[in-house]
């Protein structure tokens, strides 16, 4: 028997157990604020999942995941803001406060809830598809792509900050009432909101897992390990890279929508460089080669930040930074690789080194 960690049936069972635990939570908790907080962790889990998919399985380190998340969040916030506008009062206050007395064209689609949500998800996804196509066709990869995403993220951050009349500038958008969807009000503190996030996270995880096990996923993993060799085998490397990058962007955009649904707030801080990097930290600490590991990483880090953060307020970043350095230096595949090693001890025959060589070794730049 090989390492249980690599057994597909065992993996699916572990996923089922993981989501079963998450499903029990709302029955055990009757604190609405805690439930809301746990739901936001679910959103962070989705972000970590998208990073794991893109970076762990596609080899594309994306430091600009905040673009997809932020644009999705802004789209949702605009939709929710427009829901509270009436016939007699059609212009959101943030525009009136900035001397704009008509609804700009940018906001028109968001006047309709359905169209607004579709736009909130489609626009960031389309952006990822276009940006990815342009970059990967030019064979921009590795650290270069990371820096380009960083530049793009900074560009979006500054433009949102600058166009105050359209985006609310540094204050962002604070929709006054919860999302109304198909006649139902999604109260952020209700179990309904939790279940929405739960199912979104579960669907995203299952889809991501299926993708990584499909032949498409195998090709992206091959590209991660040696892009040049895959290119010589006749695959369109740019096409595969764009696809996995766009899927990750789609997940992040949905996460952005759900996040605004939960907190009723968005500001340029969601496109801050630090936030996008913390998504990478979640995935790195949890284990970028394990989807569920990355999600757990987000839960653990954000949970620790909320609970330990109060006690060790002044040293939290110090602890996180130090821990992150240790992980990168000694455990490049995160905490999930500890589990892998532990289960490996029980394997009767030493498994082939396919797993060990997955990411620990340097990925050649070209």
């Amino acid at each position: 028997m090989g390492n249980l960690y690599h057994n597909k049936t065992a993996q699916w069972l572990a996923y089922a157990a993981f989501f079963a635990v998450l499903a029990i939570v709302p029955m055990r908790i009757d604190d609405d604020f805690l439930l809301n907080q746990l739901a936001t962790y679910g959103v962070y889990g989705m972000l970590a999942l998208s990073i794991s998919l893109c970076w762990g399985f596609g080899g594309i380190l994306n430091l600009g995941q905040g673009i997809a998340f932020g644009l999705g969040a802004y789209g949702m916030a605009m939709t929710m803001q427009m829901q509270t506008q009436t016939e007699s009062n059609p212009i959101p206050p943030l525009m009136l406060n900035n001397g704009l007395d008509y609804l700009p064209m940018l906001w028109w689609p968001f006047a309709n809830t359905g169209l607004g949500i579709v736009c909130a998800i489609a626009v960031p996804t389309l952006f990822c598809a276009i940006f990815g196509t342009i970059m990967f066709r030019a064979r921009v990869s590795g650290p270069f792509f990371a820096i380009m995403t960083l530049a793009m993220l900074s560009a979006f951050y500054t433009i949102i900050l600058d166009r105050q009349a359209y985006t609310g500038g540094v204050n962002g958008i604070t929709p006054p009432s919860p999302l109304q969807f198909a006649g139902v009000e999604v109260d952020p503190y209700s179990p309904l909101a939790y279940w929405t996030v739960f199912f979104a996270l579960m669907i995203a995880t299952v889809l991501a897992k299926l993708i990584t096990q499909s032949s498409f996923g195998l090709v992206t993993q091959a590209i991660r390990d040696d892009a040049e060799r895959v290119r010589f085998l006749g695959y369109s490397v740019a096409g595969y890279e764009t696809m996995i990058y766009t899927i990750a962007g789609l997940i992040a955009a949905v996460a952005g929508c759900l996040w605004v649904m939960l907190v009723q707030y968005v500001s340029p801080a969601q496109l801050d460089v630090g936030f996008s990097l913390s998504m990478v930290i979640w995935a790195a600490i949890g284990g970028r080669l394990s989807l569920v590991g990355a999600i757990v990483g987000a839960f653990v880090i954000q949970g620790a930040q909320s609970y330990l953060g109060d006690t060790f307020l002044s040293t939290w970043l110090l602890i996180l930074g130090g821990f992150f350095i240790v992980i990168v230096r000694f455990l490049p595949n995160g905490l999930a690789s500890l589990l892998e090693a532990a289960l490996g001890l029980f394997a009767t025959r030493k498994p082939k080194s396919s797993a060990e060589s997955n990411g620990a070794e340097p990925v050649p730049a070209e």
Binding site: A138, R139, P143, T158, G322, F324, I325, R329
Partner: protein, 291 residues
């Protein structure tokens, strides 16, 4: 829109360029020579500002002596960082990026713990805080000082890289590490020294920026992305960074003249992404540099 104000914008552009360049110099050396993406560069700049503050506040060292002293202090920090962490990650470029981001968190929070998050100020001699006016032109004296220091550093680096034995060794390691090693160059030592040198340059930048702006634990974050873009656009060479900073500094100033500062920054970011799409290797990439 008269001629005078355009000229003023152009001169301001030179000053902006010198600020961007001095922030990027240390990074250029570290990235160009060792291929390390040092996300902690902004925090090394911040350390430079704080070491100047410390020397001035506790020991009463005159400001002009604080600049070289910051160089030495931050270079030592860089040396420790390289020996303790970076040297194990040279063949994992993405991991150096992440590890140095962890370092930047630690440095930022460490400084905040020691000095608190209230702003500090660096005092400068009287003559530096005046304005130079030349007819219709007016520019603060300190910005001229920054420009002069930047020019001096570029000259010194050029001499170091192209006229000394150490410079030849660095360039040899840059072009081909294994080949250089087979000629008896200790590449590990070269990496160590270039990293320390780059960190020291960040220290100098910090002691200057501490005067231009206030000194805060978070001040480094605003420089790092910008500095990176200069290095990447320049292709990792000294001349590349000089030209890249010059052009973007002027563009920033001219765009800001027609729109505003924030929108100008947005335009610059977008133009840089477009430029790198067509020339990912940067302005002056030498053939045969390892990538």
């Amino acid at each position: 829109m008269d001629f005078g104000s355009i000229l003023n914008a152009l001169i301001l552009g030179v000053s902006i360029a010198s600020i961007w360049l001095i922030a990027a110099l240390g990074l250029t050396i570290i990235y160009g020579a060792a291929g390390v993406i040092n996300m902690a560069h902004g925090e090394l700049i911040m350390l430079g500002a704080y070491s100047s503050y410390m020397l001035q506040y506790y020991l009463g060292v005159p400001y002009l002596l604080c600049i070289p002293a910051s160089f030495v202090i931050v270079a030592l920090v860089g040396l420790i960082l390289e020996r303790g962490l970076i040297q194990y990650l040279y063949n994992r470029p993405l991991d150096t990026l992440l590890a140095t981001y962890g370092v930047s968190l630690v440095l930022m929070q460490g400084v905040r713990l020691i000095f608190g998050s209230d702003p500090k100020y660096l005092a400068v001699p009287e003559i530096f805080s005046s304005n130079l006016s030349l007819g219709f032109l007016s520019i603060s004296t300190f910005r001229v000082i920054v420009l002069l220091v930047t020019a001096l550093l570029v000259l010194a680096l050029w001499l170091l890289f192209y006229k000394t034995r150490f410079g030849v060794q660095v360039r040899a390691v840059m072009q081909n590490k294994e080949m250089a090693a087979s000629f008896g160059i200790n590449s590990s030592r070269v990496y160590m020294l270039t990293f320390a040198l780059g960190a020291g340059l960040a220290g100098v930048a910090g002691s200057l920026f501490g005067v231009l702006n206030i000194v805060l634990p978070t001040m480094g974050a605003s420089y790092v992305v910008q500095a990176f873009l200069m290095v990447v656009v320049g292709g990792g060479s000294l001349a590349g960074s000089v030209v890249a900073s010059g052009v973007t500094g002027e563009m920033q100033s001219v765009f800001a003249f027609f729109t505003n500062d924030t929108f100008a920054r947005f335009l610059i970011f977008v133009l840089i992404v477009v430029f790198l799409r067509f020339r990912p290797q940067g302005l002056f990439a030498k053939a045969g540099t390892r990538r």
